[in-house]
């Protein structure tokens, strides 16, 4: 496994870093999260111009020749600034379209990469508890166009999306459909998540839809795209964890109690060491998952779920201890430390929590072992 970044990847990282430093200082971020949509109006087009929206896509898929590594790297740097733009949702949408691969899907993909259009992937449902594979929304196929009924939940970027990419059942199959946002039978219920993202429940009531992919083809697209989105989330978690770690380390050097910097207390030194171990294990698990993205389905699923488990539990530990080591100031709205925790708390539950991914890891590992034995 090659653990080194290329010169292009380093340049990409620098460009995200610079953007976050320039556009996302703490005061600017506060103004953004208090705004109606929770994102800045011009940031997304800036992302497109900077080439980030296609950075993780192969050239034949309308991208700039990168892979999941680029997405994780962008997300890591966005995480450092707790940027609220739904980048992982963008990865999910583009990877779905790229895996669907039809002319029509690739045309939509180009529009997403150019930020000419926003499509919100809507896979999760209220009864799924984070498991995107549980789909109760259903299609009425005899009609043309097909019509969808059901509820999708926690949909990122839905309030300003042009359309939604919806998974829905058609008999035994799960298909993927495109639903225009302004169609009759589409109702949005917006709400906020703890990390100040603005999401929606989407209620579909006999809403006209356009078929994008069916059956096994759709299943595979969903499985691959979700894994791409998860490693992106893990990259974001890593950036947040690392920032929380070093911010806390700096605080321990300046905060004085009992006549000395609290960083001199051994118990806090050991706690910081434990936090650092979690950061490094998350980085390693992420590397492993990134290396498995092009492999067979089972190996990929196992590695991605492993990374998600580590990022979830490690992220919670680091976030909690960063607060604890700050003392009272750590629980304030004003300081970034509590926001790091809130985002890590949410990531730990997005696209499946640790329990879900432990089970998925175990199942996928069985499949890998079986394939090895055969």
């Amino acid at each position: 496994m090659d653990f080194n970044y290329t010169a292009e990847q380093d340049a990409l990282r620098d460009s995200v870093k610079r953007f976050v430093e320039r556009e996302y200082d703490w005061e600017k971020r506060f103004a953004i999260i208090r705004s109606a949509q929770g994102v800045a109006p011009d940031h997304w087009s800036a992302f497109a111009e900077l080439g980030w929206l296609g950075a993780g896509l192969a050239e034949d898929a309308g991208g700039f020749g990168g892979s999941a590594v680029e997405n994780a790297l962008i997300a890591e740097e966005l995480g450092r600034g707790l940027v609220t733009e739904p980048f992982a949702a963008h990865v999910l949408a583009t990877q779905l379209l790229s895996a669907i691969g039809t002319d029509e899907a690739l045309a939509l993909l180009t529009e997403l990469v150019m930020a000419e259009k926003r499509i919100a992937p809507a896979l999760q449902e209220p009864n799924g508890r984070g498991d995107w594979r549980i789909v109760e929304t259903h299609a009425n196929p005899p009609e043309s166009p097909p019509r969808l009924t059901g509820t999708k939940s926690l949909v990122d970027c839905a309030i300003y999306a042009d359309s939604f990419m919806v998974s829905a059942r058609n008999g035994k199959d799960t298909n993927l459909y495109l639903v225009n946002a302004n169609e009759t039978g589409v109702n949005l219920h917006p709400y906020r998540t703890l990390d100040n993202r603005h999401v929606c429940d989407i209620h579909l009531n006999n809403a006209p839809a356009q078929l994008l992919a069916t059956g096994k083809h759709a299943d595979q697209a969903i499985a691959l795209a979700v894994d791409h989105a998860i490693v992106t989330l893990c990259g974001e978690a890593l950036g947040i964890m690392d920032t929380a770690l070093w911010t806390t380390r700096d605080y321990l050097k300046v905060r004085k109690q009992f006549g000395t910097a609290i960083g001199n207390f051994q118990i806090l030194q050991h706690r910081m060491a434990d936090m650092m171990i979690e950061v490094e294990m998350t980085r390693s698990a992420l590397f492993h998952a990134l290396g498995a993205m092009d492999g067979n389905d089972a190996a990929r699923a196992a590695a991605v779920s492993a990374a998600k488990v580590q990022a979830s539990t490690g992220g919670l530990f680091v976030g909690q201890q960063a607060i604890q080591l700050h003392g009272g100031i750590g629980v304030t709205e004003e300081l970034n430390i509590s926001h790091h925790y809130r985002r890590l708390f949410v990531i730990a539950r997005q696209l499946g929590d640790a329990d879900l991914h432990l089970a998925r890891f175990a199942q996928a590992t069985d499949r890998v072992k079986k394939a090895d034995a055969d």
Partner: protein
């Protein structure tokens, strides 16, 4: 039926429960479901009802209006209060300040301050911590300088819980800068309406208002507001914090949170079945229940033994209790599934950082306040003496390391 309690205890519990069922106004109980930010009016109204029954200050000796209960009865009473979602009393006044006043204060001070607390008329804040003096409380710098019949107070207090509801503040101030830090500290009670005091709210990660900052700028406080002698403040503080830690095991709260969690798990469904039947969830809940039971017995043991205020037991149950509160709150979020991460605005909230602009979240009934509570619970291992400090206390004072 619970072997931890005698027949008499059970009868006492039944009596308390019957009283609460007959007397707790339903709208108070409804708002009380989200009770880490109780409304002052609700607290006052319920304290008044309890006072009429003689039950508003369970911890106090009978001489000052307490009911004369033993430790186990006090625990049962608190347990029934939480179970019924009754608003909490002004606990800073009744559980922290009052014992200092009746133990160390003058007869005049007892008469001046205790009735207002007992009747729910006067609310108190605890002004110990400062920006530079948290764990190292004895380094506090707020100064009180004698000037005729007054002390003139200058300085800043922070993390003042419920300061926005308080009428009075119990301050630790430095009256003598020339002696050992602990020996120069005194206790002063201050009317928050005195000129020269300003308050700033501190919003916390649950987007709620609990803590505040207070600035004291040439605040003139009558000398009769000094509790005990000058220089005794540190003794008072240690006495008070010992009480705070024993209470901060918060077993009744955790038991109630568990009951609430069970309710959520009966409503929520996983794989088409009630969540409460899911083996992974059950195992996690069981572990929390087991730990809560052990803690409950530890608290009961402390309450029935000699020297039950012993600092080591207080630290021990504070550490375990505060961590349990976090675990049960986090599991309640898990119980809501991935929708647990949504902000479910409490329609009853008295203070809200962002107002009600958000509208309802995706799980309006049983989900309200759950995520916010899990966020705020991060503070339990920090306040009342951070857990790192408590563990060091256990190691030093009991294990003699």
């Amino acid at each position: 039926m619970d072997p931890a309690y005698s027949k008499e205890d059970d009868a006492f519990r039944a009596e308390v429960r019957a009283f609460v069922e007959a007397n707790l106004p339903p709208d108070l109980a409804q708002r009380g479901r989200y009770d880490f930010h109780p409304h002052r009016d609700d607290q006052a109204a319920w304290t008044r009802i309890l006072a009429d029954k003689g039950w508003s200050v369970p911890h106090w000796p009978a001489a000052y209006g307490g009911p004369g209960w033993n430790g186990v009865q006090r625990f049962i009473f608190e347990d029934e209060m939480r179970r019924a979602y009754a608003p909490t009393a002004d606990r800073i006044g009744s559980e922290l300040v009052a014992p200092v006043v009746y133990t160390f204060g003058s007869e005049e001070q007892r008469q001046a301050y205790l009735p207002g607390i007992r009747l729910g008329q006067t609310f108190w804040a605890q002004g110990f911590s400062e920006p530079g003096a948290g764990s190292d409380l004895s380094s506090l710098r707020t100064r009180a300088v004698r000037d005729g019949d007054h002390f003139v107070v200058n300085g800043q207090k922070t993390w003042t819980t419920e300061g926005h509801h308080a009428d009075m503040i119990f301050l630790l101030v430095r009256t003598d800068p020339n002696v050992k830090p602990q020996a120069g500290i005194s206790s002063l009670v201050v009317d928050l309406k005195t000129p020269g005091i300003t308050r700033r709210p501190i919003w916390t990660l649950d987007e709620g208002l609990t803590v505040n900052e207070f600035f004291f700028d040439d605040v003139r406080v009558p000398v009769e507001n000094l509790i005990g002698q000058a220089g005794q403040g540190w003794t008072h503080a240690k006495f008070l914090l010992g009480n705070e830690r024993t209470n901060s095991a918060e077993v009744p709260h955790t038991r109630r949170d568990i009951a609430q969690l069970r309710e959520i798990a009966r409503i929520e469904r996983k794989n088409g079945r009630p969540l409460i039947e899911d083996p992974i969830f059950r195992a996690k809940l069981a572990r929390i229940e087991i730990d809560t039971k052990s803690l409950e017995i530890a608290v009961l043991r402390a309450l029935t033994s000699e020297g039950h205020g012993s600092a080591s037991v207080a630290s021990l149950v504070k550490v375990r209790g505060s961590e349990l509160r976090q675990r049960v709150a986090d599991l309640a979020v898990d119980a809501l599934g991935d929708r647990g991460i949504a902000v479910n605005v409490d329609p009853h909230a008295e203070y809200s950082m962002v107002g009600q602009a958000d509208g309802a979240g995706p799980t309006p009934g049983h989900g309200i306040g759950i995520a916010a509570k899990a966020m705020f619970r991060r503070a339990t291992t920090i306040y009342g003496g951070a857990n790192e400090i408590q563990r060091t206390l256990i190691a030093k004072t009991v294990l003699e390391l």
